[in-house]
């Protein structure tokens, strides 16, 4: 009940900020444009997932931290009330993670619906894509919260680390993996590379996309290794399972931190 009261307020506040509609609109426009130019085939889906893999982590993580700073007064007010800290945490988290997920899903799904793309053979692929986006949103909002809580008194640091974290996971990580392959190419490094891939949730998501669309040419080194090592089916299962572990980590870390914090 109390969680609903909190969620209700948070959502009203988000709606008042109008920002969340802009976020949904971005997906709507991109998806619409990609379908218009690329046709309603797997190509469009692949392009959409590429956009999603970059945009979702960035927005979720930055806004996760930012949102925590913005809700500071709200948090302090509620902490003095007869409320469980755990309940308050999930209220705050749901207040952001649910609208962000909804914005992504609606923004992407709507153009697919009115272009008739959803009712083809690709339903499974589309659902997988939306599910991945959902997990990425929840996961990176959690990381953003964690960063925000870790640097609660220092916004610049919190946002800075969120931004650098995104840059590292989304852009630099692949470069570093390639560099490692280049330097250590003479050694049997397949298994360590596999482990490296599992350490990055964005990479994992990318591999799931590539396995689903079965585009070995685009799979890259880690994707190819993954495919060879596990095969398509088990590769997918392993990747999804690792993703879920990844989802739990920041949430456990953030709730722990929130429960022990001084305000």
């Amino acid at each position: 009940m109390k969680v609903l009261t909190i969620l209700n307020y948070q959502w009203k506040d988000l709606v008042r900020g109008k920002w969340i509609f802009g976020y949904a609109l971005i997906y709507l426009l991109i998806t619409d444009a990609l379908i218009r130019f690329g046709g309603a085939g797997p190509k469009a889906l692949l392009s959409i997932s590429n956009v999603m893999l970059l945009l979702i982590p960035l927005v979720s993580m930055i806004y996760g931290a930012l949102y925590l700073y913005q809700s500071r007064e709200f948090t302090e007010l509620l902490l003095a009330q007869p409320l469980n800290r755990k309940m308050l945490f999930w209220g705050l988290y749901g207040g952001l993670a649910i609208p962000l997920s909804a914005a992504f899903i609606l923004g992407t799904l709507l153009p697919m619906l009115y272009n008739g793309m959803f009712f083809g053979e690709q339903v499974i692929s589309i659902l997988l894509l939306l599910g991945l986006g959902l997990i990425l949103t929840l996961l990176f909002t959690g990381i953003g919260f964690w960063m925000g809580l870790a640097f609660f008194e220092d916004r610049i640091k919190g946002l800075g680390f969120a931004l650098v974290g995104w840059l590292f996971l989304a852009v630099l990580y692949d470069g570093l993996v390639l560099l490692a392959i280049f330097v250590l190419g003479d050694y049997p490094i397949e298994k360590p590379m596999l482990a490296l891939t599992m350490l990055n949730p964005i990479d994992l998501a990318r591999i799931i996309v590539l396995l689903e669309f079965d585009i070995s040419a685009l799979m890259g080194y880690t994707g190819a290794v993954f495919n060879r090592f596990f095969g398509s089916f088990y590769g997918m299962i392993t990747a999804i399972f690792s993703m879920l572990i990844w989802l739990a980590l920041p949430l456990i870390g953030a709730t722990r931190r929130f429960r022990k914090m001084d305000f």
Binding site: K2, Y9, E76, A80, P82, N84, D262, F263
Partner: protein, 236 residues
């Protein structure tokens, strides 16, 4: 009754509360004084569970409340710096807190009238002056008529008229038998509102007892003189 047992709080290397032991019986009005940074606010926040003590226990009416939350139902708290969600109107804020508290009967209307907040109800918290924000905080702390009221420098920022209104309300609550804790740097306020005094320096309680005794002990007429003397003795 509020009871603190061996309360310690460290912020990194800094010790803010140093083995604090305290018993405040129900129905007592207690003033807490001490130099800046002596740990008054940290002590209050530990009672509320806003600050998690490094060590030690807090009991409310004989019940251990560390890491509990239900007990806050019986406490009204007015923070030192009143910060509220900026986009909410005053009216929405009151309604929101009422929902959170489970729509319990509240004396909200009477309090709004008492503090003269009627004209501010439709305004957003962001546009409110500091003094009016304080008043909103006062209403929030009192509206569910809790047994324990904790005020952290309540009159700082209030104009003389509002300050008088606030004190009048606190006296009413005192007569109704509520436990009241308040910190302030204005000694006359403690003389007016409290019977007991806690003097706290560097996280330790240096004096806890009836105010009259303190005055006798220091052969002072006014509290201000007695407390100033204590602070000087501490500094020496």
């Amino acid at each position: 009754m509020i009871e603190l047992r061996g309360l310690n709080k460290n912020f990194g290397r800094l010790t803010v509360l140093d083995d604090l032991n305290l018993e405040i019986p129900s129905g007592q009005a207690t003033g807490i004084v001490g130099p800046n940074g002596s740990g008054k606010t940290t002590m209050i926040k530990s009672i509320l569970g806003l600050v998690k003590p490094t060590e030690g226990e807090v009991f409310i009416n004989g019940e251990l409340v560390n890491d509990q939350w239900e007990y806050r139902d019986r406490i009204g708290y007015m923070p030192q710096v009143a910060r509220y969600p900026e986009n909410m109107t005053v009216e929405e804020l009151f309604q929101f807190i009422k929902n959170i508290r489970g729509d319990k009967p509240s004396a909200e209307e009477e309090l709004i009238k008492h503090f003269g907040l009627e004209s501010e109800l439709k305004k957003r918290m962001r546009t409110l002056s500091g003094g009016n924000r304080q008043k909103v905080g006062a209403v929030l702390s009192m509206m569910f008529s809790p047994d324990i009221l904790i005020f952290d420098e309540p009159t700082a920022g209030l104009d003389p008229r509002s300050s008088v209104q606030f004190k009048k309300k606190v006296r009413e609550l005192k007569e109704a038998g509520k436990s009241i804790m308040l910190t302030t740097h204005i000694m006359s306020e403690i003389e007016e509102l409290a019977d007991y005094l806690i003097f706290i320096v560097e996280g330790k309680i240096k004096y806890h007892g009836p105010m009259a005794e303190l005055l006798k002990e220091h052969k002072a007429q006014r509290l201000e003189g007695a407390v100033a003397k204590m602070m000087e003795e501490e500094a020496a």
